[in-house]
């Protein structure tokens, strides 16, 4: 990301602004745009057409301004606190959840140089901050003083912890192949990866198909989306830990949910589909480096949308698991499968480099 400011601004050297604040603002914008895109394209439109209905059509062409209408609606709603609620914890919970989401965006590369911070432990960091949201969920469930919220929060905590494990283990295979935890290095490794001696097509989804599957399933569970939406199961728990929230705070939860979906889809596309890199996209474009940046961002966006499509397709097709079935699925199926995947990846890696 090149610097936008020069000299000093507000008495502080421009380099500081370029290095931190501007990048964070861009990351925030990315998170909000991503969440909005998912909500409009998938939650409003794709799902409507899947269910043989139209979805919102009145606001703007094909209902495209509905999103703004929804946001305005939420903002002008009353901010209700239940009488027995623990006010400070109740008020803070949505922001803990969205903070954990926004922190993921710090390490996701959207282009050859488009990353807020190229941490060397990038993927580990992303998964670590994504699990902070459990705290916010538990806070919301406990502070609401509502039995449905409490049950929902406890289910969510159990589920997020159970599915964190296969999520991490699914990534181990990719990390072993790439030899790095840095997300940009993982993208570069896919560009250089040769599958049976054939280079240029070696996206990690091909050798790590099992890992990709486990990652998507666990991501679905992390997002608490159907078939893993026991924590917010609307036919039994009303809205789970979000039951008592209204107005802006509910909106923050809502944005958090879809921004996390966008972030996890971004992680999946970086880890398994080559991120911003496209097979056949050369390493040096000379003085057209900016164009490579733009193409890379577009490619990344397309891949994220592809994975988002799968996530929402599954969400609106399948019924939901029961809590015990969901836990059994994680502990008895996904985790052993991911361990086997790691073992096979290790053997293949040693064999390939014999």
């Amino acid at each position: 990301m090149t610097g936008v400011l020069a000299g000093t601004f507000l008495g502080i050297h421009a380099a500081y602004w370029n290095a931190t604040v501007l990048r964070l603002v861009l990351a925030l914008g990315l998170a909000l745009t991503g969440a909005g895109t998912f909500v409009y394209v998938y939650l409003f439109k794709m799902v409507s057409h899947l269910q043989s209905r139209l979805g919102p059509m009145e606001t703007g062409p094909h209902g495209s301004l509905q999103l703004m209408a929804e946001v305005v609606k939420f903002i002008q709603k009353e901010d209700i606190f239940p009488r027995k609620a623990d006010r400070w914890v109740f008020a803070g919970a949505p922001f803990v959840v969205i903070m954990s989401t926004l922190l993921i965006y710090v390490v996701i590369p959207v282009g050859p140089r488009g990353v807020v911070s190229g941490l060397d432990v990038g993927i580990l960091y992303a998964l670590a901050v994504s699990s902070i949201s459990v705290i916010g969920v538990l806070m919301a469930g406990w502070a609401s003083a509502n039995k449905y919220s409490l049950i929902g929060a406890l289910r969510a905590a159990g589920q997020l912890i159970a599915y964190e494990l296969p999520l991490v283990l699914a990534i181990v295979g990719v990390v072993m192949q790439a030899g790095s935890l840095n997300l940009q290095t993982i993208v570069a490794a896919q560009a250089h990866f040769k599958l049976f001696g054939v280079g240029g097509i070696g996206l990690f989804v091909i050798p790590q198909l099992v890992g990709f599957f486990i990652f998507l399933v666990s991501a679905q569970a992390e997002l608490t989306q159907t078939p893993f939406d026991m924590p917010i199961a609307e036919s039994e728990l009303v809205a789970g830990y979000m039951t008592e929230y209204s107005g802006m705070r509910f909106l923050v939860f809502f944005i958090g949910e879809f921004a996390t979906a966008f972030a996890l889809a971004g992680l999946a596309s970086v880890l398994f589909l080559g991120g911003w890199w496209l097979p056949g996209m050369g390493a040096h474009w000379g003085h057209l480096a900016w164009a490579r940046e733009a193409v890379g961002t577009g490619v990344m966006f397309a891949k994220v949308m592809l994975i988002g499509f799968v996530i929402f397709w599954v969400r609106f097709t399948l019924p939901r698991f029961r809590e015990d079935q969901l836990q059994a699925f994680a502990w008895k199926f996904l985790i052993p499968l991911s361990l086997v995947n790691i073992l096979v990846t290790g053997i293949a890696k040693v064999a390939a480099h014999g």
Partner: protein, 390 residues
């Protein structure tokens, strides 16, 4: 038992359950009120459940939040006005509520509607069943988490409702049945359109086959959940698909001599031996298919003639009493009508609604299940609140 007595019993049972729980583990149970305002109860049923973690120790349904006093109202309305009331009992298949009451009145008066009217009554009755059970097929899916089938159900039910509206003038509450026949004949072109829609409904059932039946998650959520053995079903007086799903081969349309035209169609009563939630779902799906077949056959053999027998201008039902029951979408619905021969309405009208008996099994059924199964079981028992409290 009155509500306060019921609550007292609930309290005692809850204490006992707590004591059991505390004996094993130093924990305290939690009482959860599912309803009266809750997305899973299709209205205002309240289910008090005592929870130990996610497991139900004890549960009790509390009906009466929607009591509208129809049995009393029937006594102060005349016969023509009563159909307007009873339309609102099972509001998803309204026409089916009118028929047994009108049949009871006809029986007391000793008149019989002409064959064409009986045929059209049966057709509309079965279409009410299709409209009702189609929605169930989608709703049950929504209760276990699949959101798409419910929209398909609303879409295809709309075709049926449009036809009911075209024939009767009322989309939800037809109020079309009269003593001695029907209000009007069918509109032009209605028969062909109905046959088309019945094919659409069968296609919807096939879509349900694709989406849910055989889906691993759906089967795991429903199979073996809420098993009602045959003898328990009989003891609690279950009727309709709930009884047939427990292997009781009993259908009033076939087993009860009736003036309606079911005997003229070739159809089958489906039963399922398992008695679980899946069986109840499956049986209702087959019933929708059979109903579409009944409608098609009856429309093919629709006799010509008048649609209304000669009745006196002022309805006066002679003294006497009778009980007429039919196989409604939710189960056996019956009217015990007592007339004292005075002009005006019945002296007493006892309405036997299927949902009231069907939910009586809830305390027995919910013991020891998990909270998500509570929803599955309530959805699969399929009650309509207007049918519990009338």
């Amino acid at each position: 038992m009155s509500v306060s007595e019921q609550q007292k019993a609930a309290y005692v049972a809850g204490q006992a359950a707590d004591a059991r729980v505390r004996f094993e583990l130093e924990t305290e149970g939690m009482t959860l009120n599912i309803g009266p305002q809750h997305p899973a109860t299709h209205g205002t049923l309240r289910v008090i459940v005592r929870l130990d973690g996610e497991q139900v120790v004890w549960a009790d349904p509390v009906a009466g939040y929607m009591h509208r006093g129809y049995e009393k109202l029937c006594e102060v309305r005349d016969y023509a006005q009563v159909t307007t009331l009873v339309n609102r009992i099972d509001w998803l298949g309204s026409f089916c509520n009118e028929v047994p009451f009108i049949l009871a009145a006809e029986e007391l008066m000793g008149i019989e509607a002409p064959p064409r009217a009986q045929y059209i009554r049966t057709v509309l009755f079965e279409m009410g069943r299709v409209a009702n059970l189609t929605l169930f097929l989608g709703d049950m899916a929504a209760q276990v988490g699949a959101l798409t089938p419910v929209f398909y159900a609303f879409r295809d039910r709309e075709y049926v409702l449009n036809l009911i509206e075209a024939a009767t003038g009322g989309r939800f509450h037809p109020n079309f049945d009269r003593i001695g026949g029907l209000k009007e004949d069918l509109p032009k072109g209605w028969i062909d359109e109905t046959k088309l829609v019945m094919r659409k409904i069968r296609h919807f059932c096939d879509e349900i086959d694709d989406l849910l039946i055989g889906n691993r998650i759906f089967e795991e959520r429903c199979r073996g959940i809420g098993v009602i053995p045959r003898d328990v079903a009989l003891e609690y007086g279950l009727s309709g698909a709930n009884a047939r799903a427990s292997g009781i081969d009993w259908d009033l349309r076939r087993d009860e001599p009736s003036v309606l035209a079911w005997k003229d169609a070739d159809w089958k009563v489906w039963t399922h031996p398992d008695g679980d939630s899946f069986a109840r779902y499956w049986v209702r799906q087959q019933e929708v298919r059979e109903s579409t077949r009944i409608v098609e056959q009856l429309l093919d053999g629709l006799p010509s003639g008048p649609i209304r027998a000669k009745t006196p201008a002022r309805i006066r039902v002679p003294a006497g009493e009778t009980y007429v029951h039919t196989e409604n979408p939710l189960g056996e619905m019956g009217y015990y009508v007592v007339s004292d021969g005075s002009p005006g309405g019945p002296f007493r009208c006892k309405i036997r609604t299927p949902s009231f008996s069907n939910v009586s099994i809830v305390p027995w059924l919910l013991r020891g299940v998990y909270v998500p199964d509570v929803i599955t079981i309530l959805a699969s028992l399929y009650f309509i609140l207007g049918d519990i409290d009338r």
